[in-house]
């Protein structure tokens, strides 16, 4: 056993389960080779206890000669040296020999086995042909030897004796027997494993359960369980072996944790000893016997135990082809060890752990590199990079510890520390002595000099960074870079540091990590200061000064840096331009007046609100805003006047350190409406909505561009000189909001856009390159404008109405003596008023003054003297005007106004919104600012509609006038009168008795006059209806006249028509169904008048003047059946009392009081007469011009009653027809010309005598 341990079997880990061989050694030796070869050839299934999964296992064995010492003594836990199977070899075939020697030998062998309690044995009897031949002489069959052995030794286990036939021959029989032997051996071996390992595990568990007992030692237990691990490893069961180590690991960890929780195990004290050796992991040996011995002796330190445990785990993991788990576990281990040493309060020399970790990291990396190719390594950076970074970190802290990072180099104290650290490393291990790149050599070298340290540190850093980059862990890479930058800064090499810092900063800024931003920026500031980059430094300082994460002192310091520079004078120092955003933010811009639109020359103030981010108040020599000027073009003007807000809020999402605004919300949509108007007539072509800031909104999506990072100002930032500027000198900006008021230039009309803002502090300029959203104000120049509008709607014609004149002076100054000249018109006189006052108000609508207006009226012109009014003010005054209601018929001749313009006749028309007839009144006003007259229109509404009609009763004539109030107000009518203009003899007798009449809204008043004449009734009457009216609630003094002229023609009754129905002969009454006679008697009443003769008569051959009439009997209600001729022509002599009688037969169809059938009498005009009618051209125009007015009257009126003008109308139209075809035609008489006496008469009709037929009409 001793000799076994001395052998290097454990080192190589190539040991196999031990199988002892007793008996015929010569025989065994001859078979050994093939046995050793064939045994592992086929796998066996190993069924496990405790429910562990069965495994296929290739069995190998180390066959050794049986010695009694090999058998384990009582209490020996060594498993590795445990003989799992004992074989007794014999080829004895001779019973004598068997009985003589072999049996005894076997017996002895068996006894010694039994003494040690080993039951795993087998006896192999080898049979050869030679022996067979030998046996031929023998009587005993060879089988009997086997039987004998079986009966002697294997009393119940016949399988413990195996026969191997002709092992050295190449025959199927030999192969068969080999196979069965191998199978047997494998089975037995596995049985032995199961049994012995099971027993071992039970023992081990028992031992583990005792761990709470005093005196229990982890190290002892460690050795036991490791033995099991060894066996598994020996059986190539690395997984199981690893489990053993992991269990040990967990157990130990738990103890350490319990220690931390106050539960101390005695044995742990040995691990709490101060660490004296920090030589790092050693992974090049399968088993580090040195450390193992230490553990066995209970002298190992915590680092030793951990190192050893890890080296074993590492070995197994590599066997298992899981190198990446090694790196992961290594990192955990290293972190864990550091924690555990802290937890156990083990005293460690400062820096020693760093050494240990550094060496260990590199050792693990080397080990991994040793078992993987480059491609594998490159693709698994993510597993190794942690170790690289950790090693870098540790080396850096070692460098700092040993004074290798400073500019000056290590001090003697640093050197002492270095020596102490190096001492703990011990000597280099023999494995790596020859390796040039061993971790040990690296560390020693790195700690030996500043240069070597730098070289190693840079190498590691870059390696780590590159790996991080390669796997896309950019943040980690930047952090390493930042750490490198810190190193460079300490080395006094800011140039190299800057890039790393900037890169890191960019990443923090873009992701909005304010604290790292501040910290990195501080470092950058230091770096830039060293580099002498004044502008950048000042910019960074400005950012720091406004950084809320810093203390006031730090901010003040940064601010002071800027101010100090700014205060420098002299030509040598150039002006420095910095971004405004870091210094102060433009938060709001306000225009006074708020419309941001003034007339040229007016005062416009712009108030800026600047939020100063500096911690102290800063005196600024000048704040200037540059302006871009655009000449106004009219179209734009109207649009912008609406959209310009008085106050513009500038939305700063955040300061540079806050969360990036882009990610939070992004810029708001700025929408604007656009109108595209045609340039010629200003009509709308198209309209739409545009987004004004698409460039900003779209940009956010395309890339993750960092939000406003005013870290560095682009060189393009510069104030444009020469442009117009808003300037304010000497402003002190206090921290927080400051208001600065500018007076904006407003000389030229146009659009002014604020472009840039610049604050100058000594040599430093803070520039805001773009003011966004864009801010504009507008200066306009306006022509004077005069408008007239009614004070109240609607303006009623006929009554005095107030209208308001509004004069927007625009750029014109109304001087004293300026007057408006209104051309007077008859239809709309201006009513003079004494109390007419003018109000002047400023553009803001505030009343400035009020003065009495002097109005002079001459015949043609009303002159209004205007009070002096400054430009861009509003002058208002009111005038009372009266629109005369046109009386309807007569038409004034064209007249010219004073200014030579043709007077516009007010035209009346019906308005769709109101039943009232509208009249447009135009005013022509001469204004002092223009050589042209201003034309203004007012619309008045006539409140009345008037209708007239002629009524006749035989020869008597009546005139009815109907006045309808179509307005919404009530009137009183007084002094209603009707006069005839031409015939003085004519007397019109009013049948209306009331002096005053109420005319309510939407109601009508009817008036009736009887016409009395003395000599002759003129055929044409020119009538004037006149009345005075006033609003009902006003007194009588305000009565206004209202006239209505009309003409009645053909008033005289020419014919009277009488009809008589004569019952059939012999009957007293008419009977239905019986023919009756209808006698129509037409009588000429008057002598013909001149006009009539010329017009329609013709001279008969006998000299008598006759006219032709046509009569027609028509019964529209089907009461009568006209039999025979229903119409006919009569020739009437044109003398008074000429009578013509016509007999017509009619038959009543019903009984009862039937109305007479209608008898129409029409004028018959032969075709020759047509040419004679020449319509008056005036009346034709009249017809046209008044047609609208007439039409409404006509439509409503009863067609039968009012035809005075209607007849003219029809003549005109008939005339037009006639011009085409000269045909004879019929013309109806005017109302009252033919008087029907029997109109509406009735006659009694009796039912027919035929009684038995009764007709019942049920309707």
């Amino acid at each position: 056993m001793e000799s076994q341990e001395e052998k290097p079997i454990i080192y190589t880990m190539e040991n196999k389960p031990i199988v002892t061989c007793a008996g015929d050694q010569g025989l065994f030796t001859s078979l050994y080779t093939s046995l050793a070869q064939q045994l592992p050839r086929e796998p066996m299934e190993w069924r496990r206890t405790y429910g562990r999964a069965p495994k296929m296992i290739h069995l190998e064995a180390n066959f050794v000669q049986f010695k009694e010492e090999l058998l384990p003594k009582e209490g020996n836990k060594a498993l590795l040296t445990f003989p799992f199977l004992h074989i007794y070899w014999t080829d004895c075939c001779d019973t004598e020999v068997y009985k003589g020697t072999v049996k005894e030998d076997v017996m002895r062998w068996q006894n010694s086995l039994r003494v040690h309690g080993s039951v795993d044995w087998v006896i192999i009897v080898v049979e050869t042909n030679d022996t067979k031949k030998k046996n031929k002489t023998n009587i005993l069959p060879r089988a009997s030897i086997v039987d004998k052995i079986r009966s002697d030794f294997c009393n119940k286990q016949n399988d413990r004796c195996v026969v191997l036939s002709d092992p050295l021959k190449d025959s199927s029989r030999s192969q068969e027997s080999w196979n069965s032997l191998l199978l047997k051996l494998r089975t037995l071996l596995l049985m032995s494993f199961t049994k012995n390992l099971g027993r071992f595990e039970d023992d081990m568990r028992t031992l583990r359960e005792k761990r709470t007992q005093p005196g229990w030692s982890f190290c002892e237990y460690f050795m036991v369980q490791e033995e099991l691990a060894f066996v598994f490893e020996m059986l190539q069961q690395f997984e199981d072996a690893l489990v053993q180590y992991d269990e040990l690991d967990a157990l130990f960890t738990q103890y350490v944790l319990n220690f931390g929780a106050g539960d101390t195990a005695n044995w742990l004290s040995s691990f709490c000893a101060p660490v004296t050796n920090w030589s790092g992991l050693l992974l090049r040996r399968p088993i580090d016997m040195e450390k193992r011995d230490g553990i066995q002796r209970g002298e190992a330190s915590l680092l030793d135990l951990r190192s050893y445990l890890f080296s074993r785990q590492c070995t197994l993991l590599i066997f298992l082809q899981r190198p990446w788990e090694v790196t992961q576990r290594a990192l955990e281990l290293l972190h864990n060890c550091v924690q555990e040493l802290r937890l156990l309060e083990v005293s460690v020399l400062e820096g020693a752990l760093d050494c240990w970790v550094f060496l260990s990291c590199l050792e693990v990396l080397h080990r991994i590199e040793g078992c993987c190719d480059e491609v594998q390594l490159a693709s698994n950076c993510s597993h190794t990079v942690g170790l690289w970074a950790y090693a870098t970190d540790k080396l850096k802290s070692l460098g700092e510890h040993c004074g290798l990072v400073s500019e000056k180099g290590p001090t003697s104290e640093d050197l002492n520390r270095t020596v102490d650290l190096l001492a703990g490393l011990g000597d280099e291990r023999p494995e790596t002595v020859n390796s040039l790149q061993s971790p040990y050599k690296k560390l020693k070298e790195a700690l030996s000099s500043v240069e070597a340290f730098e070289r190693h540190y840079l190498e590691l850093s870059h390696a780590a960074m590159e790996m991080y980059r390669a796997i896309g862990r950019l943040r980690s890479a930047r952090l390493v870079g930042k750490s490198l930058a810190e190193f460079y800064m300490r080395k006094g090499d800011p140039e190299k540091a800057e890039n790393f810092l900037q890169e890191a900063l960019k990443s923090y800024v873009s992701e909005g990590w304010s604290l790292p931003v501040t910290h990195t920026r501080k470092q950058i500031a230091a770096c830039q200061k060293l580099l002498g980059r004044t502008e950048d430094y000042l910019q960074t300082s400005a950012l720091l000064a406004g950084d809320a994460n810093l203390t006031t002192e730090e901010r003040t310091h940064s601010c002071q840096e800027i101010l100090t520079f700014a205060a420098k004078s002299g030509e040598d120092c150039q002006k420095v331009t910095l971004s405004m955003g870091v210094f102060s933010q433009l938060t709001r811009l306000q225009f006074h007046p708020a419309t941001a639109s003034v007339h040229s020359g007016a005062v416009l103030q712009v108030e800026l609100t600047l939020r100063c981010l500096m911690p102290v108040s800063v005196h600024i020599q000048q704040v200037a805003a540059s302006i871009h000027f655009d000449l106004d073009h009219g179209r734009l003007k109207a649009l912008q006047r609406q959209t310009n807000p008085g106050t513009v809020e500038f939305n700063h999402g955040s300061s540079s350190a806050g969360p990036p605004s882009s990610s939070a919300s992004g810029p708001a949509l700025e929408l604007d409406e656009i109108h595209d108007r045609s340039p010629s007539d200003n009509s709308l072509n198209s309209t739409g909505v545009v987004c004004k800031n698409t460039h900003l909104i779209m940009r956010r999506h395309e890339s993750s561009s960092p939000p406003d990072t005013p870290n560095c100002v682009s060189p393009a930032v510069a104030m444009k000189e020469g442009a117009q500027m808003l300037k304010v000198q000497d402003v002190t900006l206090e921290p927080g909001d400051n208001r600065i008021t500018f007076t904006a230039p407003s000389g030229q009309p146009g659009t002014y856009t604020l472009r840039q803002l610049c604050a100058t502090v000594g040599q430093v300029q803070f520039v805001l390159p773009h003011i966004y959203p864009s801010v504009q104000y507008e200066v306009y120049s306006q022509e004077p404008q005069l408008t007239v509008e009614p004070l109240s709607e609607p303006l009623l014609a006929g009554l005095p109405q107030m209208v308001k004149f509004t004069l927007l002076t625009g750029h014109y100054t109304v001087k004293k003596g300026d007057a408006l000249q209104l051309s007077n018109t008859d239809t709309m006189p201006i009513l003079p008023s004494s109390s007419c006052s003018a109000r002047i108000s400023n553009p803001a609508g505030e009343l400035l003054s009020e003065s009495v207006l002097s109005i002079q009226s001459s015949e043609k012109v009303t002159s209004i003297s205007l009070p002096p009014t400054p430009p861009y003010h509003t002058l208002e005054f009111q005038l009372e005007v009266l629109c005369i209601i046109p009386s309807g018929y007569d038409r004034p001749a064209n007249e010219r106004l004073t200014n030579g313009e043709v007077r516009h006749r007010p035209r009346s028309y019906s308005h769709p919104d109101t039943p009232m007839t509208a009249i447009d009144q135009r005013m022509s006003i001469d204004c002092p600012w223009s050589i042209y007259s201003t034309l203004l229109a007012l619309t008045f509404y006539i409140p009345f509609k008037t209708k007239h009609s002629l009524l006749s009763a035989g020869n008597r004539k009546y005139i009815q006038v109907c006045v309808q109030n179509v307005s919404d107000v009530n009137f009183t009518l007084a002094e209603v009168k009707l006069t005839e203009k031409q015939h003085e003899s004519l007397e019109l007798q009013s049948l209306t008795t009331k002096a005053q009449q109420l005319l309510c809204s939407k109601h009508s008043v009817f008036c009736l006059w009887e016409v009395n004449w003395k000599d002759d009734l003129p055929s044409c009457l020119q009538c004037v209806f006149s009345a005075n009216f006033s609003l009902t609630n006003q007194d009588v003094s305000s009565l206004k006249p209202f006239h209505y002229q009309f003409q009645l023609e053909r008033v005289t009754t020419l014919y009277s028509v009488r009809a008589e129905i004569l019952p059939p002969a012999g009957e007293q009454y008419c009977r239905s169904g019986l023919l009756c006679g209808l006698e129509v008697c037409i009588t000429r009443l008057t002598e013909p008048a001149e006009g009539e003769i010329a017009e329609e008569s013709k001279t008969d051959s006998d000299g008598l003047k006759t006219t032709k009439l046509m009569y027609e009997v028509a019964d529209s209600s089907s009461n009568w059946a006209v039999c025979g001729k229903s119409s006919g022509m009569v020739s009437m002599p044109m003398t008074a009392d000429a009578t013509h009688k016509v007999q017509i037969e009619v038959m009543p169809l019903f009984a009862g009081h039937l109305p007479f059938p209608k008898i129409k009498v029409l004028k018959y005009l032969p075709h020759t007469a047509a040419v004679a009618i020449q319509p008056d051209p005036d009346s034709c125009v009249e017809n046209d011009s008044l047609s609208l007015l007439d039409k409404t009257l006509d439509d409503q009126g009863d067609t039968a009653s009012i035809r005075s003008r209607g007849s003219v109308h029809s003549v005109g139209s008939a005339d037009q027809q006639q011009k085409g075809v000269a045909m004879p035609r019929l013309e109806p008489f005017g109302p009252g010309q033919a008087f029907n006496h029997s109109h509406a008469r009735q006659v009694l009709v009796l039912p027919s005598s035929d009684d038995h037929i009764m007709e019942v009409n049920a309707t």
Partner: protein, 139 residues
């Protein structure tokens, strides 16, 4: 017991970050920021394999000598990162998970607040209270 708890927006800027006052705040900011590397790595790795049925808890992002950094990502890609002191070994994975769950619940409450503008930093006192609770006692 957490030493630092942070909520990070989808766009990787901090919505909330709070650490124990006794220690250097800056260091935690760096740690949490760097941990986003691993969060992203894990999210993309998970995204490929499982699609929408993913586990929100990302587990240990990476250990450092002094701290353990755990990650959790909501379905809307808001990340929670909890930093735990390495010496605090009594914390189990389950406790970390429940911390995250609690944090997520509270975060959801904050988001449900109609006055909270998603994307703004979290100012909620209730949330603050929950975080304080987790920083004082385990789980």
């Amino acid at each position: 017991m957490a030493v630092c708890i942070s909520v990070i927006a989808k766009e990787n800027y901090p919505l909330y970050i709070r650490s124990v006052p006794t220690q250097n705040e800056l260091k935690f900011h760096y740690t949490v920021h760097t941990s986003l590397d691993v969060v992203e790595e894990k999210i993309s790795a998970v995204g490929k394999s499982l699609g929408d049925q993913r586990e929100l808890y990302l587990g240990l992002l990476y250990p450092t000598e002094d701290y353990k950094v755990y990650g959790y990502v909501t379905n809307s890609k808001v990340k929670f990162v909890i930093v735990v002191d390495s010496s605090n070994t009594s914390l189990r994975d389950n406790e970390i998970r429940s911390m995250f769950r609690k944090l997520h619940n509270s975060f959801t409450d904050v988001m449900c607040n109609p006055f909270h503008n998603p994307g703004d930093t979290i100012q909620s006192k209730v949330f603050d209270g929950i975080v304080s609770g987790m920083m004082v006692t385990a789980g």
